[in-house]
């Protein structure tokens, strides 16, 4: 099998003529990588990733996922490979209780009852949803519904996980908790595709970044080199994380352009202070 989990070749997609949402995108993503797809509102991020599970078919070009051509594979077949967590959790939540919601996926994959049960309980526990197991998801908060949607997707144990703006609406602690869990999943070998315009988030977790603007890919590289190019981010109407931005605005005083964490910035400032006469 190819070393690439995802291969996109010359992909274009038009919802209506003259409004191409994605234009001639070519992109190869390695098995087991964590990539962040970043770009402004309307840049084509969601349109592009909706091709990964076959929800959209290319207007032209091709998309291969785990070696499957999404033009031929059914959405059901692709669902065994690609877990998709939508921007709006209410687009994918429909069962009467959280427990049913989470067991729905593995049941549809035809898993034995024992496996369904084990995965459902594991997912409930992972996302601190045990107290809500018998609650209707519709009555939980928006952030909690997002956790239910993610738990339900993970119970299917996909090899590729696509997350569309997963932390929107979550508080800092819940967002952190969510990402820690995604990191665990990543360590198990899952390929992570994170769609976000939150560069700070991408910088902390993603190994690679894809910067999109107006339906095109401007840049695909490892995270750090991307962050050190403020002009590319600016072209895509993106802002570096606050700490990176601060250090960049003080680069004339010797601070690095690619610092992403508070610790890095503090270290650089202290080192620079020692150098001063």
């Amino acid at each position: 099998m190819s070393q690439y989990a995802i291969e996109i070749r010359g992909l274009s997609h038009d919802y209506e003529p003259l409004h191409p949402a994605v234009h001639d995108v070519t992109l190869s993503l390695r098995q087991g990588t964590w990539v962040a797809i970043c770009g402004q509102n309307g840049a084509g991020k969601t349109t592009m990733v909706k091709h990964l599970n076959g929800l959209l078919k290319p207007t032209s070009g091709a998309v291969m996922v785990d070696g499957l051509d999404t033009r031929q594979a059914s959405v059901a077949e692709l669902a065994r490979h690609v877990g998709f967590v939508f921007q709006n959790p209410d687009h994918q939540i429909f069962c009467a209780t959280c427990r049913e919601e989470i067991s729905f996926g593995p049941r549809n994959l035809g898993e034995p009852d024992k496996v369904i049960h084990a995965r459902t309980e594991e997912a409930l526990a992972w996302f601190d949803l045990v107290p809500y197991a018998e609650h209707p998801p519709a009555l939980l908060s928006y952030g909690q519904r997002r956790l239910v949607a993610l738990a339900a997707v993970l119970a299917m144990q996909p090899s590729i996980l696509v997350l569309d703006e997963p932390t929107v609406g979550l508080d800092a602690a819940s967002a952190e908790g969510l990402l820690q869990r995604i990191q665990d999943i990543h360590r198990r070998g899952c390929t992570i595709v994170l769609v976000t315009h939150d560069i700070a988030l991408a910088a902390r977790y993603a190994q690679e970044m894809v910067i999109m603007a107006q339906g095109r890919v401007l840049l695909h590289d490892r995270t750090r080199p991307v962050l050190a190019q403020p002009e590319i981010l600016q072209r895509a109407d993106l802002e570096p994380p606050q700490i990176t931005h601060l250090c960049q605005s003080l680069s004339h005083l010797g601070l690095p352009k690619d610092a992403t964490t508070v610790q890095e910035a503090a270290k650089a400032i202290l080192a620079q202070l020692r150098r001063l006469p």
Binding site: Y15, E16, G39, Q40, N41, G42, A43, T46, Q87, N88, D90, H135, P136, L139, L140, S141, Y142, G143, Q144, E165, V168, G169, L170, D171, A172, A173, S174, A175, H197, I199, A200, D237, L238, E239, P241, Q242, I243, H245, L246, S249, L250, L253, G254, L255, V262, Q263, A265, A266, I269, L270, Q272, L273, L276, P277
Partner: protein, 290 residues
């Protein structure tokens, strides 16, 4: 009198099913918002931020049911006593899920819908629509169906539709979450301008500490159904224990200030990037006075 005021407000949603207990979301909330003031409402997911927002436009409890007690006054009205349609003339709420409030076939009609319902004449509606779309930077989308727009674009449509009502109290429930930084800056600037020009009060529910620090006069933190903290950003983010306990993050420059203070014995208390940049420029400039 405050533009909006809650005193000892408690609210429980109706039980999920007969015989089950009523989920208590607000226990004892007291909060004031003055005309022209910008208050950020923070707190962890599920803390009751959205519920509190909906208490101010009467949707809680008029549409949701449940038991709401305590004193609430919004522009002199008790939202329990006045029809929500009447409150909508002066109180606008941009819901977290923008998509759920978009109903018209085009962006232009969507934004015209609210003022149209107020019985305003056509010429003025057209003016307000153009103005609101320009404010949030989506003039070019005016003939597109909202359903075909991206998540962030829909959010801007919802914000424009609420601005076109020219509210005196603008409540925004996590409105920046789906916006890219450029859009966020544009919308935040527009809101700050409106606030200065028209003295509108803004209540912003958000989990983003950096945005709260940049825009708000005060930060109110909701935790366990009560307001755990209500003070200006610099003061609020200095309460490390409450910040940690309530799951609210701090701006990274505030974290950086704390890290440097530990090493240098300084007393930096930055909440925004320009504050940090100015102090660091002085600190790192060669030849600074010892």
């Amino acid at each position: 009198m405050a533009l909006a005021e809650l005193a000892n407000v408690a609210y429980a949603y109706p039980p999920l099913a007969p015989g089950l207990p009523s989920p208590v979301v607000l226990r004892d909330v007291s909060l004031r918002v003055e005309a022209g003031e910008f208050v950020a409402l923070m707190g962890r997911t599920g803390a009751g931020k959205s519920t509190l927002c909906m208490c101010l436009n009467g949707v809680v409890p008029q549409s949701t049911g449940g038991r709401l007690t305590g004193a609430i006054s919004v522009l002199g009205h008790d939202p329990r006593q006045v029809p929500t349609a009447r409150l909508a003339r002066e109180v606008a709420l941009v819901y977290q899920d923008a998509e759920c409030q978009l109903i018209m076939p085009t962006v232009e009609e969507e934004v015209a819908f609210g003022p149209g319902n107020l019985g305003i004449d056509r010429a003025e509606i057209a003016e307000r629509v153009a103005w609101a779309l320009r404010l949030v930077g989506i003039e070019e989308l005016c003939h597109r169906p909202p359903s075909q727009l991206s998540g962030g674009q829909m959010q801007r449509v919802a914000i424009a539709a609420n601005l076109a009502m020219l509210p005196r109290l603008l409540i925004l429930d996590e409105p920046f979450a789906g916006l890219d930084p450029a859009g966020r800056r544009q919308v935040a600037n527009a809101i700050c301008r409106l606030r200065a020009e028209r003295e509108i009060a803004v209540l912003l529910a958000t989990t983003n500490a950096e945005i709260a620090a940049e825009t708000a006069d005060r930060i109110a933190i909701l935790d366990d159904g009560c307001i755990a903290l209500d003070s200006p950003p610099a003061d609020a983010f200095a309460h490390t224990e409450i910040i940690a306990k309530t799951g609210v993050g701090r701006p990274s420059v505030t974290e950086l200030a704390a890290a440097l203070n530990r090493e240098l014995g300084t007393a930096y208390a930055w909440t925004t990037l320009p504050q940090a940049r100015d102090d660091l420029e002085r600190l790192l400039l060669p030849g600074r006075p010892a």
